[in-house]
Amino acid sequence: MLVEYIPILVILAMALIVAAGILVLTHIVNPRIRNPIKLTTYESGIEPQMEARLRYPIRFYVVAMMFILFDVEVIFMYPWAVVYKQFLSQGWFIFWEMIIFLAILFAGYIYLYRRGGFQWE
């Protein structure tokens, strides 16, 4: 069973080699002619104002939070999907289990929807 995972290590090594290769190649081959203007922030030719690391809208936080919650929900559904067909031989119980789970979450979804949780201005 562990043998299955050997190729993953191999492809990880290969991907790392490609990525490192590109970085090293850039460092060696590409020419570098420095001048202070070239090294400033790109701002379409305008003098950069302030730092870029400002504060950003809380929307992104809400989206990330919602993502985690629904991601966990989806993760729960994978084992369910795998055993679904086998459990069906014992009746609809497996179906209603997931329906209850989804219904509770969907109530939250509707609440969020109504309160504008998904509204993006």
Binding site: V10, I11, I22, T26, K38, R53, Y56, R59, V74, V82
Partner: protein, 348 residues
């Protein structure tokens, strides 16, 4: 007698080497195809000077990238700035590992029988491997945006990561409905299950959701908000130059290739040939393997073409429309699809 672990290691190393190189080659082909097809759609010529029909254009592009100046601006966070292209490139090359691109064949190495499955790793968590590794691609964008210390980059990085995570949910739910049909996460099982009927017939809605989500995940038009040229200059890679800049594009095209391959595998029967044509032809076994690989390649190439086709046909979404589509339409729709699939399986 050769040790079985050694055989496994050597075989997988050969497969990985070939697959990664084919992906990189396909990236070059795609760059050319993108330019030629966009030209065709817009009724112009496109690059046709380098080599016959311009087929050497990608090589010219590559050389150009190599000899462009490598600028590392001094306001960036140096370590993270260099890390970002690598972080975005590694997952994009790794996700292809689980895609079965052909059936299997055997040969003898000395007197050891070697069975080669045309798939780098047939994991028991199968498709979940894709979900997990693909979700790591977000880091490349966030780190790139943050390290660049540029407002455009920062906005591009935040926007694209919010977009990617928003569409991961519908994509996951579409995958769940496919897994329900097969009862296994292994992609080889999912492909074997489709020998007689493609999943797209049983999961038309799931296919559409997956397709839309795949477009959003790869940041392609109509969802290329992060690099919306008119408003964000170049998004998270504004401050990058030379080969580092190209790394972002290699990653994007590699992701497109993997997505197309997964659409083929999950919904279009993988390497199977439709309508029992292969059985009717009655080919020798060795040729069957070739036909399988060919069938897989043609289907994948078609979806790669769809990517380009859509890009040059549809206009870009607005950001609020994009988020609305993800959270208000696709999410409930994919939940409904899962429930419908459940009822369908229970009844039939």
């Amino acid at each position: 007698m050769v040790n079985s672990a050694t055989v496994e290691l050597v075989v997988s190393a050969v497969k990985v080497f070939i697959v990664v190189n084919v992906i990189l080659l396909m990236v070059m082909v795609m760059i050319l195809a993108e330019r030629r097809i966009s030209a065709f759609i817009q009724d112009r010529y496109g690059p046709n000077r380098v080599g016959p029909f311009g087929i050497l254009q990608p090589i010219a592009d590559g050389i150009k990238f190599l000899f462009k100046e490598d600028v590392i601006p001094y306001h960036v966070d140096r370590f993270l700035y260099l890390l970002a292209p690598a972080v975005i490139l590694v997952p994009s090359l790794m996700t292809f590992a689980i895609v079965p691109f052909g059936s299997s064949f055997s040969f003898y190495w000395g007197d050891t029988p070697v069975h080669v499955r045309l798939q780098i790793a047939d994991l028991n968590i199968g498709i979940l491997y894709f979900v997990g590794i693909a979700s790591l691609a977000v880091y490349g964008l966030v780190i790139g945006g943050y390290a660049s210390n540029n407002k455009y980059s920062m906005f591009g990085g935040l926007r694209s990561s919010a977009q990617m995570i928003s569409y991961e949910i519908p994509m996951g739910l579409a995958i769940v409905s496919v897994v329900m049909l097969t009862g296994s996460l292994r992609l080889s099982d999912i492909v074997a299950d489709q020998q007689h009927m493609w999943n797209v017939v049983r999961q038309p809605l799931g296919f559409l959701i997956f397709l839309v989500a795949a477009f959003a995940e790869t940041n392609r038009l109509p969802f290329d908000l992060p690099e919306a040229e008119q408003e964000l200059v170049g998004g998270y890679h504004t401050e990058y130059s030379s080969m580092k800049f190209s790394a972002f594009f290699i990653a994007e095209y590699a992701n497109m290739i993997t997505s197309s391959a997964l659409i083929t595998t999950l919904f279009f029967g993988g390497y199977h040939v439709p309508f029992g044509i292969l059985e009717a032809l009655n080919l020798p076994v060795a040729w069957e393997v070739v036909v399988h690989v060919l069938s897989f390649s043609i289907k994948t190439a078609f979806f790669l073409f769809v990517y380009l086709w859509v890009r040059w046909t549809l206009p870009r979404f607005r950001y609020d429309q994009l988020m609305n589509l993800g959270w208000k339409s696709l999410l409930p729709l994919s939940l409904v699809n899962v429930v419908l699939t459940g009822i369908g399986i229970a009844i039939f």
